[in-house]
């Protein structure tokens, strides 16, 4: 397990590098006196990533520690999450604890939607928390949203499909191998047109960037030299290696894999469970056929090693308008406890605490995920970034690239749109 611990530490280090020191001002102890006993705490989790075991643990532990109070977990959809949270958190019937995507967190922390957590920061894990995520959850020196979990993408393959071809060790090899494996009906890599998380490594590895702050102004970098080079590589894959729909998104990724019609599948590590789903599941996978010899490796970098990939994940926060902020903070503390985070880790999610990396399962796919995470990068740290995502401007541009439009023109369009949002 040393590798994993090393990897998680590497992730921590990588994410610290992007952080521009979040001077942790201790002030603003606005600890509103807690609500009555016997309250109901509502926890909004997003998507299906949090395993049932963790949900049950949270509910039982909370209700045991706070007799008379109850905790309900309500699942929200990622789609339209920002719209819904904006109204819900500003209303009188606000949920108490909410999960948000790490890139969405600044949208809320910057506008006063979350309660400050500085007073319990130490209980939540203090310096042990993933630093990059702490930074996403910090605004103006105040800590609002704790890291929840991180995830990363790995490249899946099935040995029977890949055959004797060696696993690529550089990004260029990867592109070449994917193109070589492509036929009229077979994809070298499954790359749907809207899958922008998979595009970012190509931009980063070629020296491009999403957006950087230049004084007060944000400058977008898809049309930088490295950005164009990366996007051209992406277009090459779209046109010559992928039979995925040019307008497709990341749903149903296990389907082409299970049909055996793609050699590589770059996907979040949890896709493993979809591929291995039993035949009687609602959406069956293929544990007997192509899933039988499932393997994964981290996307290789330009010069070997793991590529810089997008650091996905979530933050979790207490709503500013929670009726019972003290109880909500207790629930949050449970979600950041070693026991709870261990459950997440055992299910293949990178835990919010660096010290718990040991709990990650010891298999090839998790190792690949951890190795990828070690080199992970974040989206620009600005509250406006959430708007860029909400408007799907990157997906839209990527779809145009997938269609074969001129990369430079699309990249310039994209940059000006991003700049107008970030600077607007």
């Amino acid at each position: 397990m040393k590798i994993l611990r090393f990897a998680a530490a590497g992730l921590a280090a990588a994410l610290t590098l992007t952080a521009c020191s979040s001077g942790s001002a201790g002030g603003t102890t606005d600890s509103t006196d807690g609500g009555s006993e016997g309250a109901e705490i509502r926890v909004w989790l997003v998507g299906t990533d949090t395993p049932d075991e963790a949900r049950t643990y949270l509910k039982e532990t909370f209700e045991e520690q706070n007799p008379g109070s109850t905790l309900v977990v309500q699942e929200q959809a990622w789609d339209g999450l920002v719209d819904k949270l904006t109204t819900s958190l500003s209303g009188s019937d606000s949920p108490d604890v909410v999960e948000v995507g790490n890139t969405q967190a600044p949208t809320f922390t910057s506008s006063g939607f979350f309660a400050p957590l500085d007073d319990i920061a130490e209980d939540l894990g203090g310096d042990d928390l993933l630093p990059g995520f702490v930074e996403s959850g910090t605004w103006d020196g105040t800590f609002y949203a704790a890291p929840y979990y991180a995830g990363s993408r790995v490249v899946f393959y099935s040995q029977q499909v890949l055959g004797d071809t060696p696993v690529p060790t550089t990004l260029d090899e990867y592109v070449a191998a994917a193109k070589a494996a492509t036929t009229d009906t077979h994809s070298g890599v499954w790359f749907p047109g809207q899958d922008w998380y998979n595009m970012l490594p190509f931009v980063w590895e070629n020296g491009g960037f999403i957006a950087e702050q230049d004084g007060e102004e944000w400058k977008a970098g898809f049309s930088s030299e490295g950005g164009i080079a990366g996007l051209q590589q992406v277009q090459d894959l779209f046109q010559n290696a992928s039979k995925a729909p040019k307008d497709g998104d990341e749903t149903n990724l296990q389907v082409p894999f299970c049909e055996g019609t793609t050699t590589f599948l770059s996907a979040p590590s949890w896709i493993k469970w979809s591929i291995l789903a039993e035949a009687d599941a609602d959406v069956p996978g293929c544990p007997e056929t192509f899933g039988a010899d499932l393997h994964a490796f981290p996307l290789p970098g330009k010069d070997g090693g793991a590529a810089q990939v997008f650091a996905g994940g979530s933050n979790v926060a207490v709503a500013a308008k929670s009726a019972n902020p003290d109880l909500a903070k207790e629930a949050l503390t449970i979600m950041l406890s070693d026991e709870y985070q261990t459950i997440l880790a055992e299910n293949g999610l990178i835990p919010a605490k660096v010290s718990l990396a040991d709990a990650l399962p010891d298999d090839e796919i998790t190792a690949a995920a951890a190795a990828a995470a070690a080199n992970a990068r974040l989206t620009p740290a600005t509250p406006r970034w959430g708007d860029v995502e909400a408007q799907k401007v990157i997906q839209d541009a990527l779809v145009r690239i997938a269609q074969g439009e001129d990369v430079t023109a699309v990249a310039e369009d994209l940059d000006s749109t991003i700049e107008s949002i970030l600077n607007g």
Binding site: D79, G80, V82, D83, T86, T87, S90, T107, F108, S110, S111, G112, F113, G193, Q194, K243, P245, K246, D247, G248, D249, A320, D387, A390, Q391, K392, V393, D396, V399, R400, Q403, T417
Partner: protein, 318 residues
């Protein structure tokens, strides 16, 4: 609006017109009757409307939802809106879609209505049921079904086209390219709108006295001539209403575009005014700017329907 103000409470107390000194039951009666509607409209539509105007002169973002005071920015939101090329693109796009949808809806609706006239009882029932099914489909469910039919990989449309044309349409993405996106959107909107238009016109056409039509036929007027010279003039009022309503509804179209974008459209190239306002306001949190756009949009709508509004005012003067 009226000479009275109402409490924000649900309708119970009917206010009396304060102008009159002698309040007689007879004078009170219309206000009593109007009170419930007036109360609901003043509170739930009137107040947000006033606030929309107020918002349009302020910088109102997400932070303001949490109680931060909104700074007054004068007409800045309007200046921004009117100088933003995106706004004009979206407006033009909305009008293009509206014109296409209205022309197709009215034309095809008329043809279906005429078809209904020609049919015997059984066939008319068959056609009516088909139309009713399309009409009754909730827009959200309908959009999901259409999205599924046009699905890139498993959609029945691509499958059928492949069979019919011999070339492979499998994997053809219908929603990326804006023109194709709007072709699909127009198809869906028109599909949903025709039943209402057809039924209404049909009901109107059955009012045209059979004797007049027969007389015209004896005089040698063909079907075409009879339609334009006799039937259309008879139902002209219906046409006016249908066209004005269709224009308003198609300009305000939201669900169809919003859901289709969710399935696979390029947002920046396919947003219509309603969706654009939603994006600006609810999705991005620029509530002030979104309000300004809505005000401009409303003015445009009023200009379009000025004729209809004027006719109504005149009629009310009688």
């Amino acid at each position: 609006m009226s000479s009275t103000t109402l409490p924000a409470a649900p309708p119970s107390a009917a206010p009396a017109p304060r102008a009159s000194r002698a309040i007689t039951p007879a004078r009170l009666l219309p206000w009593l009757l109007l009170a419930p509607s007036l109360a609901a409209l003043l509170v739930v539509t009137g107040w947000p409307l006033v606030r929309m105007l107020w918002l349009s002169f302020h910088e109102y973002e997400r932070a303001q939802l949490m109680g931060v005071p909104a700074p007054w920015v004068g007409v800045q939101n309007y200046v921004d809106t009117l100088t933003d090329p995106r706004f004009w693109t979206v407006t033009l796009r909305s009008f293009g879609l509206m014109v296409a949808c209205v022309v197709l809806t009215i034309t095809l609706g008329t043809l279906v209505a005429l078809l209904l006239m020609r049919l015997g009882r059984v066939m008319r029932l068959v056609l009516s049921v088909g139309l009713l099914l399309a009409w009754a489909m909730p827009p959200l469910a309908a959009m999901l079904v259409w999205g599924w039919m046009f699905d890139t990989r498993y959609g029945v449309v691509n499958h059928t086209l492949t069979r019919l044309t011999g070339t492979s349409w499998m994997g053809h993405p219908w929603l990326i390219e804006p023109l194709q996106f709007f072709a699909v959107a127009t198809l869906v909107i028109v599909w949903g709108a025709i039943p209402f238009v057809a039924f209404t016109l049909y009901a109107g056409l059955t009012q045209v006295p059979q004797e007049v039509l027969e007389a015209a036929q004896i005089d040698g007027a063909g079907a075409r001539k009879r339609f334009f010279r006799i039937q259309v003039p008879y139902v002209r009022a219906i046409y006016t209403v249908l066209i004005v309503l269709s224009m308003i509804w198609d300009l305000k179209v939201f669900t169809q575009i919003f859901v289709l974008q969710g399935i696979g459209g390029v947002k920046s190239q396919t947003s219509t005014l309603g969706v654009y306002i939603y994006e600006m306001g609810m999705a991005q949190g620029h509530y002030g700017a979104a309000s300004a756009i809505a005000v401009v949009f409303t003015v445009i709508m009023l200009v379009i329907s000025a004729y209809y509004v004027r006719a109504t005012v005149k009629e009310e003067e009688l």
